[in-house]
């Protein structure tokens, strides 16, 4: 078996050497500072008038690639569901870790409202500044996970996160379907463009990002809680 292992190691090293050569060959052809794609320039030129979002990355994520974002949310949902399935939740054995010290507990109490505000701010300004549903959702998940770190005995209500997640996902699809009733393509932004750079602009994009943020936040909070509970059971 030792011989087999050294053989395996040798083939792995050979594979890595080949991969390194391949990557080095790619490195030779990469031109830093000159993007090879031309679609970016077209989007940069057309997006402000077409979508009305000051943050052009948001117009790409939700307007030009809205359908892809929906599928990516589906991937995240599948991964979170599978992780929850793999981790399992047995209601019988609920052995909890001891409570954290006073510093962590006070910190969790203090940071919970602040994290909520920051997370929601980032979600609502996703079409104006860097940020959006994905980033804000992660901050929301952190807000709901921190009290659990401080007091492991208090469990996150999994039924609640599942409900929020399902409603947010349904809202995203519903907004997409509304465009169909207007005679547009699926997930076309509605409600006009608005004034560039104001909070109420870019049509349905802020609503879509709110749905994304709530979905990602609920999903990750449930996932983190499952991981924490898995650790506590041992």
């Amino acid at each position: 078996m030792r011989q087999y292992n050294s053989m395996r190691r040798l083939t792995s090293l050979l594979f890595l050497a080949g991969l390194g050569l391949l990557l080095a060959a790619i490195l030779q052809r990469l031109n830093f500072g000159q993007p090879p794609m031309i679609v970016g320039d077209a989007i940069n030129a057309a997006a402000p008038a077409q979508v009305g979002a000051a943050n052009l990355v948001t117009s790409v994520v939700l307007a030009y690639r809205g359908f892809d974002t929906l599928l990516e949310l589906t991937i995240l949902f599948t991964a979170a569901t599978a992780a929850g399935l793999a981790l399992g939740r047995e209601p019988g054995d609920r052995l909890a870790d001891p409570e954290a010290g006073p510093i962590v507990r006070a910190g969790a109490d203090l940071f919970f409202p602040l994290l909520l505000v920051v997370g929601l701010y980032i979600i609502f300004h996703g079409h104006l500044t860097p940020g959006g549903g994905f980033q804000g959702g992660v901050i929301l998940a952190a807000a709901f996970f921190m009290p659990q770190l401080a007091r492991p005995a208090s469990r996150l209500e999994h039924r609640m996160t599942t409900l929020i997640e399902g409603l947010a996902g349904a809202t995203f699809i519903l907004i997409g379907l509304l465009a169909l009733f207007e005679g547009e393509a699926f997930l076309t932004p509605l409600l006009g463009v608005g004034t560039l750079g104001t909070l109420l602009s870019a049509g349905t994009l802020p609503m879509l990002y709110l749905a994304v943020g709530l979905k990602v936040g609920a999903e990750l909070a449930g996932l983190l809680a499952s991981l924490a509970e898995m650790g506590a059971e041992e």
């Binding site: 078996m1 030792r2 190691r9 792995s12 090293l13 594979f15 890595l16 991969l19 990557l23 790619i26 490195l27 990469l30 031109n31 830093f32 500072g33 000159q34 993007p35 090879p36 794609m37 679609v39 970016g40 320039d41 989007i43 940069n44 402000p48 000051a54 943050n55 052009l56 990355v57 117009s59 790409v60 994520v61 690639r65 892809d68 974002t69 990516e72 991937i75 995240l76 991964a79 979170a80 599978a82 992780a83 793999a86 981790l87 399992g88 500044t129 860097p130 959006g132 994905f134 992660v138 560039l196 750079g197 990602v216 999903e219 990750l220 996932l223 499952s226 991981l227 650790g231 041992e234």
Partner: protein, 148 residues
């Protein structure tokens, strides 16, 4: 070597290190970390390809459209890729924890050995064994007849 090549080399190097951890390590936790490194390298490479010299971020501030903006498409791709990477890592961690709970170790070789033993137990078969069978794991005691 100019700055750009250095940064591209960093991204590709991260991918190489991550792959090395995946194929060379037999420790499940290190393989998860290797996967995380690989994903970070790929994301970094994507963002770097969209960079244009001297351009600003693709954000319009106060109605002033910058003269030159970087490509927003790779940034949008990476935005979602990071979140998906997080979900995939959580799934991998969940599976690894599950395996650790069942077999009590993160070492791939050891897990494979115990799995084979369990399968043979269930099937009522004897483990394939001969006098030449080498020790299953460096430093472990010589296996008894029938156990391995």
């Amino acid at each position: 070597m100019d700055m750009g090549t250095l940064m591209f080399a960093g991204a590709l190097g991260l991918m190489l290190i991550g792959t090395a951890a995946l194929v060379l390590s037999g420790h499940l936790m290190r393989m998860v970390f290797g996967l995380a490194l690989l994903e970070s390298g790929a994301s970094l490479l994507l963002v770097l390809t969209g960079y244009r010299s001297g351009a600003s971020a693709p954000i319009i501030l106060d109605g002033v459209v910058p003269a030159s903006m970087v490509d927003p498409v790779p940034q949008a791709l990476v935005l979602t890729a990071i979140v998906i990477a997080l979900g995939v890592q959580a799934l991998a961690l969940g599976l690894v924890l599950r395996v650790h709970r069942a077999y009590g170790t993160f070492e791939m070789r050891e897990i494979r050995r115990r799995m084979e033993r369990d399968i043979c137990d269930q099937a009522g078969l004897e483990l394939p064994s001969s006098n030449e069978v080498p020790e299953p794991y460096p430093g472990s005691p010589k296996p008894q007849q029938g156990e391995y």
